[in-house]
């Protein structure tokens, strides 16, 4: 009897992780995001209050006391950017979770069951895809914030929900496409033959096979959520003052473009670096999950 050569078993997660860090830029990008996240969480250790005004020290250029300078009210820009990072990263992460969750449910139901369920869900998806999103976001943002309920006045929460409400269509389409292919596979037939119910087949058998593409599209969603939140706040319809966000800091900087042209550099640069890092992470994940990319071992 011939024995199969001994092979060390490796979990899927381990293989993916190893392949991910082969993509050097993706590894660096993870580091950048971690540093940004930790700096934002520890923003309270900073000696300056992000809302403390100091009119005698306004428009200071970057110096040893104020690394990023001060704005028109003499507030420390570095401190505002660190606190703003909390909002931007939280909005990006949470709205992505929400939108992926909704998209997975819609896409799974649509792709697995097909028929009238698919028709109805996909028409709704199409209608949402035709929405000029940012216009609707602006209207929604203005509308919800004027409600009496306290939770709706918390603009961070409102922004998270409305960004998710207008971005779930992309993961929904992706997951539907994956389900259309996977539901015809033998392992699904086998599970059904063994008496597996639809719920069990969807959650335990098909969904785990979709993790890779969902994660990759999640990074795209997160990058665009951060850009959208900053854009909304920049236009004045996102997170409201006094809560600083990268977008609103940029917006006040624009008004001072003649007085202090450097003010706009740092908040925009933070958005740019964060989005770029997330895009590189997405690139790394794509390689890591792609069975056709063969890395030299």
């Amino acid at each position: 009897m011939i024995e199969a050569p001994a092979r060390r078993e490796q979990s899927m997660a381990l293989i993916v992780l190893r392949r991910f860090f082969k993509h050097r830029l993706a590894g660096i990008a993870i580091g950048v995001i971690l540093i940004l996240a930790i700096a934002s969480i520890l923003a309270g250790l900073n000696q300056y209050d992000p809302t403390a005004q100091n009119p005698t020290d306004s428009f200071a250029k970057p110096n040893s006391a104020h690394w990023f300078g001060t704005d028109e009210l003499g507030r420390d820009v570095l401190s505002r950017i660190l606190y703003g990072g909390r909002v931007s990263l939280a909005v990006g992460l949470l709205s992505t979770f929400l939108s992926i969750a909704l998209g997975v449910v819609v896409g799974a139901l649509s792709g697995y069951f097909g028929g009238w369920m698919d028709s109805v869900l996909m028409r709704v998806t199409d209608a949402f895809l035709t929405f000029p999103t940012i216009f609707v976001l602006i209207i929604l943002g203005a509308f919800l914030r004027e409600q009496q309920l306290f939770i709706l006045q918390n603009s961070v929460f409102v922004v998270i929900v409305i960004i998710a409400a207008l971005s779930w269509m992309w993961p929904a389409r992706l997951v539907r496409g994956l389900f259309l292919v996977l539901r015809e596979k033998e392992f699904v037939t086998a599970s059904r033959a063994l008496g597996g119910g639809s719920f069990r087949i969807i959650v335990q058998h098909i969904l785990p096979n979709c993790v890779g593409p969902i994660l990759v599209s999640g990074t795209l969603q997160m990058a665009s959520a951060i850009i959208t939140e900053s854009g909304l706040s920049y236009l004045g319809f996102g997170v409201q003052p006094p809560t600083p966000t990268w977008g609103s800091i940029l917006s006040t900087a624009q008004n001072q473009v003649f007085r202090a042209p450097w003010l706009g550099f740092f908040p925009g640069f933070m958005i740019f670096v964060t989005v770029m890092a997330i895009n590189y992470i997405g690139d790394g994940l794509r390689d890591a999950f792609d069975p056709y990319v063969i890395h030299a071992e």
Binding site: T130, I138, I139, G231, V257, P261, I271
Partner: protein, 324 residues
């Protein structure tokens, strides 16, 4: 083909209907309302306020208001701006050419640059050119359009001056310099910075997409056949491969249209470009409902029309698509 086009157009009617209801409910249900300023004004009595509400029809049941609005819309009457007391259709009509000029020119420049970059990158993958383009496109994809716009203003308007006149190198704001209205050259000069801000991200996005789609196609058998029978490289790339590689790009562009108009909204706001985006932003600040509704409806219609055109273009580019 004709029946297909017709059916495609009929299919969009329910979508437009859903969008119109949602938007109407959304905007009309918004609190604050167009009379906020009037309510705060102590000189306007309660009776006068009620009279204004009655006159604007703000007290009727919502379905009645919607029905009236939709009927007007179909007749091309989009109501009157609450702030400017002018027909919305007239206000939007003035702005549409400016937005289409901005978006159209940016789009043309995007295609002119993105297609050659994508092809050249795919021709010599992992070359120095390909690597530097990949880096540049990653940067272009990640730069928020509003930061890029602000940066362009700081560099070309605030910092750099024309050495002869001492005026800013590029103008910011409006279509024309005062006194030069309607001059094409002056408009193009004003268009430079907005177009640059708007197209960089698209160039990055589309050239990257075309690169990977070209790489996919280049592995196909028919490309090998074309090479084997001795066709010139240029012929293989531009005639055989590009035609198939560009198909997914058409779909991508159609799906991306809403975000293209979103980009225009930011650019118009930053550069005070008198287009629909700027109109919308001003109207949103003043809660001018009829204008908001009108702009969103027109944008949705524009997007749907472009989608249909993209579908038809797809059929024209790919003879395999059957219309039945």
């Amino acid at each position: 083909m004709k029946t297909y086009a017709l059916r495609r157009i009929l299919q969009t009617i329910p979508i437009l209907f859903i969008i119109s209801i949602l938007l109407f409910l959304l905007v009309r249900a918004a609190p604050g309302g167009p009379l906020t300023a009037a309510r705060r004004n102590p000189n306007i009595s309660k009776e006068q306020l009620e009279a204004i509400e009655e006159k604007l029809g703000l007290n009727d049941p919502l379905p009645v208001q919607y029905g009236r609005w939709l009927g007007d819309m179909l007749k091309g009457n989009m109501g009157e701006s609450i702030k400017f007391r002018r027909p919305v259709s007239e206000m939007i009509g003035e702005r549409i050419p400016n937005t289409l000029l901005l978006v159209g020119v940016s789009f043309l420049i995007t295609l002119v640059l993105a297609i050659p970059i994508g092809i050249l990158s795919a021709r010599k993958p992992y070359s120095v050119f390909d690597y530097s383009m990949t880096t540049v496109t990653f940067i272009g994809q990640s730069i928020p359009v509003y930061w890029l716009g602000l940066g362009l203003i700081v560099i070309f308007y605030v910092a750099l001056k024309n050495p002869f006149t001492g005026e800013p190198l590029f103008p910011v704001g409006g279509l024309n310099t005062r006194g030069k209205e309607g001059e094409l050259l002056d408009t193009l000069w004003h268009l430079t910075l907005p177009v640059a801000a708007l197209s960089l991200g698209w160039i990055a996005w589309y050239s990257r997409f075309l690169r990977s789609s070209m790489l996919d196609v280049l592995h196909e058998d028919y490309v090998r056949t074309a090479r084997a029978k001795g066709l010139k490289d240029n012929m293989v790339y531009y005639k055989h491969a590009l035609r198939n590689a560009i198909l997914p790009l058409v779909t991508l562009i159609a799906l991306d249209l809403p975000s293209l108009f979103a980009g225009a909204l930011f650019v118009e706001t930053i550069f005070s470009w008198p287009g629909m985006g700027r109109l919308f932003w001003d109207a949103a600040k003043g809660r001018d409902y009829p204008v908001l509704l009108g702009v969103v409806m027109i944008t949705a219609v524009l997007i749907i029309v472009c989608n249909i055109l993209a579908d038809l273009a797809y059929g024209w580019l790919d003879p395999q698509v059957k219309y039945d």
